[in-house]
Symmetry: D2
Subunit: 344 residues, 4 copies
């Protein structure tokens, strides 16, 4: 089968690989019909997240079950399914309290030996462990472009909002309008935010946020903190979502949040950074977030995508065949796309 393999920094290649085989009774094999390119793939592409050359990448996927072990009861051969970017065992201490993202034996698709040696989904076929938890049938009428958001990007946006404790009537700021930030904008509005202030420096992204119903604010050409003050009676937002992963964004989030408010950090951090703990302390802020628990969120997210209340269609800017993966990564690297969908 064909698969997109990481070969080295800035270098991915479509290669021929042997087809996967069932290894455990709760494994399934999925024939991929659509697979996305994600911001985390770019970290691998740049060599910041290091994986073995030759490893198949990708972790957003929709497809059809073509084989399933004896213990697979949630889906069946022939089902059109979607899945999560991570897999979890379902029975360890963390899974028993639904903290699936911290499963003792969790693995992530397409992230090499460091995250469990689970070959990625940018391929014609993918082996899916713990299929009962990982896979769900695609609701009737839901296209591939929408379905592949459920198990990663939209689940992360949902995490930012729900874990951040947004309540109906709240004011919310979202800093950074990549796919995750834009999903967070959607979920915040869906969750009853009275207003969502969406900040970025890219006009195209601001336009999407505005179309969703947010108050879009240009990071440098406008005054984001001034807008927040004006719209919240000087008080600040109830929840500030940091969807960038940059200390400047975190600082802005801490300043934008009202006293006794929440900063939800969904942007990726890997390092030590300078944080204004003094400000966080005197404001009695709550800082939540981190890696999202998309397996736990998958059911409600699917209900919302299936009923049409969430719709990330506008985020899909490019479709390309899997065989053009190399071009896709170059294009994505130039920040010309929000979401690229590859079709094998």
């Amino acid at each position: 089968m064909l698969a997109v393999a990481f070969q080295g920094p800035q270098q991915v290649e479509v290669v021929e690989k042997p087809e996967p085989e069932l290894l455990a009774p709760d494994d399934a094999i999925v024939r991929i019909s659509a697979t996305g390119v994600c911001g985390s793939d770019l970290h691998i592409y740049h060599g910041r997240v290091q994986i073995e050359p030759g490893f198949t990448i990708g972790h957003e996927y929709v497809g059809e079950v073509v084989a399933a072990g004896d213990a697979v009861t949630g889906v069946a051969v022939g089902d059109r399914v979607l899945g999560t970017f991570q897999v979890a065992c379902g029975t360890c201490w963390f899974c028993r309290r639904s903290e699936y993202h911290k499963c003792d034996v969790g693995r992530t698709f397409g992230h090499g030996a460091g995250l469990g040696s689970l070959q990625g989904t940018q391929a014609e076929l993918a082996l899916v462990p713990h299929a009962n938890l990982t896979l769900r049938r695609v609701p009737d009428g839901l296209g591939d472009d929408v379905a592949l958001f459920a198990g990663d990007v939209m689940g992360t946006g949902y995490h930012a909002v729900v874990d951040g404790g947004v309540r109906p009537g709240d004011s919310v700021a979202v800093l950074g309008l990549g796919p995750v930030g834009l999903c967070a904008v959607q979920v915040a509005l869906l969750s009853g935010a009275a207003r969502v202030i969406a900040v970025d420096a890219v006009e195209q992204r601001l336009a999407v946020a505005r179309a969703y119903g947010a108050e879009a604010v240009h990071l440098t050409e406008q005054d984001p903190r001034g807008v927040v003050k004006a719209l919240t009676g000087g008080r600040g937002v109830d929840v500030a979502i940091e969807a960038v992963g940059d200390p400047r964004a975190l600082d802005m989030a801490i300043r934008m949040a009202r006293k006794a408010g929440t900063v939800s950090v969904i942007g990726v951090y890997a390092e030590r950074v300078d944080v204004h703990m003094g400000l966080a302390w005197i404001k009695s802020l709550r800082i939540t977030g981190g890696q999202a628990n998309v397996i736990a969120h998958l059911d409600p997210v699917l209900e919302l995508l299936g009923s049409g209340r969430l719709d990330p269609t506008a985020l899909v800017t490019h479709h390309m065949p899997l065989t053009k993966a190399s071009e896709a990564y170059e294009l994505y690297d130039r920040r010309e796309a929000l979401k690229i969908v590859l079709t094998p």
Copy 2:
């Protein structure tokens, strides 16, 4: 001044009364510009809730502050304000934990000596105790018809949903589509319900729910439980809101709720009733609700009305001058109106 006085069952009268005077440093006097007729007024009208003849009724109101005691800091003379149907002291054991609806010295407008001897708001002027907690400035651009929902009907709908624990992606049923039920439908959708199933026997009310985005189901001509099953994969709704106050509705709510789900009882009960505790027990249901904490909900509700995310305009079916209060009550008693607004 003119005021609507209860005189006896089925008998209200517009009478001349002396103007109210400030009694405490945190009192305010409001010149009423609009005041609603509510389902609870009808309980008084029917004599079920007993109050003294001659007592002024009414508890939904918008108006202008014309006098304020020295300790009133939240609003000022000249402000256009709205208020809540109840007043609370702000410092007793219950108020200290924001359970304002259970204030040790709480009083309700227009409900006679039993609820604190606080003259009602269907009058040209009303004395408003504890004005700092009770009153808020009307947000710019908000009309009287919308503003008078904040302190009673919409706050109660908000309570049904938020106290019921609705989360984004949930399925919700609302049983009973009077003004409170219809507000609950709006708030449930606003809060991210994937679907809201709205049940009533009056086609006009079903039409409003449908327009809001709910799946409207006729109580007797359709099969509400069947619809719930079909739309929830046989599982039942996450939250069933009982907005009638009738044991048959409660029974249906208990049956419609999924296992480990919630029944939110916002419909008024005054008696012992037969409840299928066996079913509630084996399903491990949570039963919440009761009289709503509208003072606590007033800020978020106002944010949502002010930003246009909630809009009860469709519920106002009639405007009448205060002097026609008697006709208004007769009309409301015939169930020909959803909400009647009286203007002094």
Copy 3:
């Protein structure tokens, strides 16, 4: 092997049965070292809960794993283990949100075809499905008498308190001091209740509650509601736990709870009963409880038993050999025991 079989009302018998065999890859077989007689066994004994003659009863157990399927990873052959009274699949819609007590394919030990045809644990050997979720290693130093409370009675007491939302500083009433009620007393005190008022009509049980640190109140010889009022400044308790399963106890709980408080119903209901919804409504009570989610509670309960912070030893009043099961049931039926432990 020997097993205690229900033969008909008031009639249990120790019979010889074939040894169980592994049927699924996540099954285990446990050689029972101790198994309890529980109030729910008595419902079967009396014929109220109907099961097939010849079915093995019992659902509280400690023992040693003697066989385990390939997919069993949480425990191993040779491990000393305890388990829960219910088993759950771990991957269905309910299990995915840790609502294991409502598992779509859940089964209960020793309750006949109605609850999943899972032979009971009052036997020399028991087949345990879904062993990864159902079984845990017994913490070092923990005796059988303590360990067998983890998966049923103590887990239910924990549910009553935690699901009831008890917070440090709360006042709590526990109505009914059978084993579950007494466990709830322990957990409420452990959870930081400022005071626990424990009500029953049996002096021996009151003595146990008193020894735990509760204010013990005789149901008929004292005035439970008066005591609650005196100890809570007239306000009522924050959480009233109904551990009887009787409408009179439920009524007392509703009256004892403070306004905006909680009634946690852990006593078993199977029928329609008369409930003072009027009182519950005007007090804005929250009614929680129902069948307990002991699988979800098993980890914290084990931490507390293992660290000695919870200790139900005082509840074990009798030890008898499994072969004397018939006498044990007669004795339990005469209410002469709190907990009888049978040893095969």
Copy 4:
């Protein structure tokens, strides 16, 4: 009257001042019978927190009401009372949601113009604004030494634990065993922690924690992280409480917390510091805390002190007359005391 005035760094003096007078209808005047010296007083003493020379310091107090305005209903002249270190209005946006610590017009005793120009309580008399929220009657039988913990140190320990979300069965670490840390140890155990690991470098403080029931671990002579690992099966604690206010302690807390756990930061921060956000992110930690909401916690804390379930007596190491304030500060500055009580 006599009062302890800050005169300059390392310099406090007992001076004669005019007696306070009632200024607002909800003011009270309290004749102080006991007032504590607190860690925050030391910040002033050192000049780190800057206040005006001559300003009266102190914010922990017990005494008798000797005058009260017309609007004071919660306490009366002659009552023995305790109070909180902060005062709040009870009606602003923050107070309306019980976030009293963030009151729009909040003031702190003894912290100069920067925190509201409210003269301190290390004096013979103190003016107490918003007395209905600020003061409570001392429960019968409660000594001054215990009562003065309610409104500051114990309320802060309570905040650390309850805001940190400790649940029965959790493992908790407390880093830093000053008075607040030791109160947090007590509250964590009271709240049902299965184990509390208490870390400090001062043997006397470790001994107090050990006496409370904690596992006491010397910061440098033992291996705190190793102990946490050993006691939690390698997993880390559910809640790590940082009661120092030092980035090294914060770092240790982040490392000690289990994945998806909580870090509760109650130690004071005023600056930017280096935080390992990468670790916090990949562990999906929740960081809570900041300045405590002691007004909201006052009722439950008083219930617990009054019922004897919390008892900080062991923390009071010194009693001195108010006139010896200068010696008291010198002694406290040498870290020879945990809590010094001054008596006017």
